[in-house]
């Protein structure tokens, strides 16, 4: 059973802004999964203890990428959200993507054959 990374509030934000639609977009999925591979490889180095990195560290680094991705901005602005919390939105998308990644790994769908 893959880990669930989003808190109750993050799930509410995801549902409210339909962020799962952004997360599940197949065009960006591959690029982001490769980014997660890179994050896991870097944070798995001896410098950081050499083990599997903490989910929170992976999600934070992934949120850096999402914070720079203007397709997220476009997705949220289309929904006319009042005063969007961009930090939480980036973190929620990152958590959702990492959940997808873990599930794909468990199902043998990533890395792609």
């Amino acid at each position: 059973m893959p880990r669930r990374l989003l808190s109750k509030e993050e799930r509410a934000l995801r549902d409210g802004l339909k962020l799962d639609k952004w997360v599940k977009n197949t065009i960006r999925r591959r690029a982001y999964f490769e980014t997660i591979d890179l994050i896991l490889e870097t944070l798995g180095k001896e410098t950081f203890g050499g083990g599997e990195p903490r989910d929170a560290a992976v999600v934070a680094m992934l949120a850096v990428a999402i914070g720079e991705d203007e397709s997220v901005t476009d997705h949220v602005l289309r929904r006319n959200a009042a005063a969007p919390d961009w930090e939480e939105i980036s973190r929620t998308c990152a958590g959702g993507l990492y959940e997808q990644y873990l599930r794909a790994r468990e199902d043998g769908k990533w890395p792609e054959q």
Binding site: F48, A57, A60
Partner: protein, 457 residues
């Protein structure tokens, strides 16, 4: 053991990684948006990278010990880090269920290890020392250093002639009485009221440490002096000692009982003996404590907000063979403990429930309500009541303490007041003990339950 890593090395790698993934994020966005005719952008994008880098560094601290460079001052730890760690240490006084409750109330993730939950709370409160102090004081369990403690010692004498008691006690003012090895009680003064009097005194004792080497030996004696106030009532069957610890309370009570010729009970006057039903199989102390919880602590203006610990005697005595492993008591800590299966099982097995800690709601009038931590413990020859100050003004704790002590005095030595209500509660407890399913909602002596077993004021 966690590896030690230089903070600047870890930060450099993280920053390089952040730059790479940020580039990838920008590229991915542009690739997607290139397929759209209309694109919505922000005029000024928020700068979040530093925030997420700091978040990643905090998460990585669980994997490695980051060795920070000292500041310009030699051996000086970063003051911001000291503030954060001090705030964390303050919260570490609370137990994990209390920390989870705070996290939930602050809309934070309550899951994970104690340190994870503490970290989230400290971050959510922006390391605000005053807010953290308030949180700790509001949520901590009652403790002697920040509360009022009374110990009720039962006596055989029904009534005491205060006139005569006052003059007898006054004869010993500014004198002392030895009450044990290197233990003395010093009579200080007597305070007379209409139907009771206070004897104020000081308990003096010495902590002794043998020292020395070769031919030079000595005893190092360190004195401690602790205040005690013993209340002697004209009517009633208790001497009440107010002090922090049991030793000084016992010393004061011994001094008063010897001076006035009072006879102390060897045990506790518990007469709450049920006549039938499930309760017949329970230890008489459990019957008393559960009945007290139901009929006295859950009665206006008090109500039980959360039962946070329950202490049981297991009845296994190690007196016969010191080498035999044994457990004499077991203490459960958590939330709404009487709804939990393990606590119900011990009650039903006939183990003695001898102590509880609870967070009570005290509503002295319709406009005000306070949460107050209390602890009630049955000891061999006395009952201890402790009410913590929490973050309330101290008078609130004193008012609650007075209420509980008076209700305790009224309940001890009396038969069960509400046996049918208690039997219904016992049925729920028996059923919980036998229930194989997990308990998902607190329903025994918990707030919001609609039992008709609770006695009305």
């Amino acid at each position: 053991m966690k590896p030690i890593v230089k903070t600047e090395d870890a930060l450099r790698e993280i920053t390089e990684l952040a730059e790479t993934v940020a580039r990838r994020g920008r590229a991915s966005g542009e690739e997607t948006l290139a397929q759209q005719n209309l694109v919505r952008r922000l005029e000024r994008r928020p700068e979040l990278t530093e925030t997420f880098i700091a978040e990643a560094m905090r998460a990585l601290e669980d994997e490695v010990d980051l060795a920070e460079p000292v500041s310009d001052e030699p051996h000086q730890i970063d003051p911001a880090e000291v503030d954060r760690e001090v705030a964390k240490k303050a919260l570490a006084r609370l137990k994990l269920p209390q920390l989870r409750r705070i996290a939930e109330a602050t809309s934070l993730d309550p899951r994970g290890k104690e340190e994870d939950v503490i970290e989230r709370i400290v971050r959510a409160y922006d390391v605000d020392a005053s807010e953290i102090a308030r949180l700790v004081l509001t949520n901590e369990e009652a403790r002697e250093e920040r509360g009022v403690t009374d110990r009720l010692f039962p006596i055989f004498n029904e009534g005491i002639d205060l006139e005569s008691a006052e003059s007898q006690l006054r004869m010993f003012v500014q004198r002392y009485l030895r009450t044990g090895i290197a233990r003395w009680f010093v009579f200080q003064d007597v305070e007379r009221h209409d139907d009771f009097l206070f004897l104020n005194g000081v308990f003096r004792t010495y902590r002794v440490e043998p020292k020395g080497e070769a031919e030079d030996f000595s005893l190092d004696a360190t004195e401690s002096a602790l205040g005690v106030r013993v209340r002697v009532n004209a009517v009633g069957r208790f001497l009440e000692a107010r002090s922090r610890g049991t030793t000084e309370a016992r010393s004061g009570v011994t001094a008063v009982s010897k001076t006035l010729g009072l006879r102390l009970w060897e045990g506790l006057p518990i007469e709450t003996r049920p006549r039938e039903g499930n309760l017949l199989r329970w230890d008489h102390r459990s019957v008393f404590v559960v009945s007290f919880l139901q009929d006295q602590l859950a009665r206006e203006p008090l109500s039980i907000f959360n039962l946070t610990s329950a202490q049981f005697e297991t009845g296994d005595s190690a007196a016969v063979d010191e080498n035999r492993p044994s457990v004499r008591s077991v203490k459960f800590e958590g939330t709404h403990l009487l709804s939990s299966k393990p606590a119900c099982e011990l009650l039903v097995e006939g183990r003695a429930l001898v102590g509880i800690s609870a967070l009570l709601r005290f509503a002295p009038n319709p406009e005000e309500a306070f949460l107050v931590p209390v602890r009630v413990t049955l000891d061999r020859d006395h009952v201890t009541v402790l009410t913590g100050f929490a973050s309330n003004r101290s008078q609130v704790a004193r008012d609650v303490q007075g209420l509980i002590v008076n209700r305790l005095k009224a309940a001890l030595g009396k038969p069960l007041e509400n046996e049918s209500g208690l039997e219904r509660l016992a049925e729920k407890i028996v059923s919980r003990a036998r229930d194989a399913d997990d308990v998902t909602k607190a329903d025994i002596l918990a707030p919001g339950q609609s039992d008709d077993v609770t006695a009305k004021g």
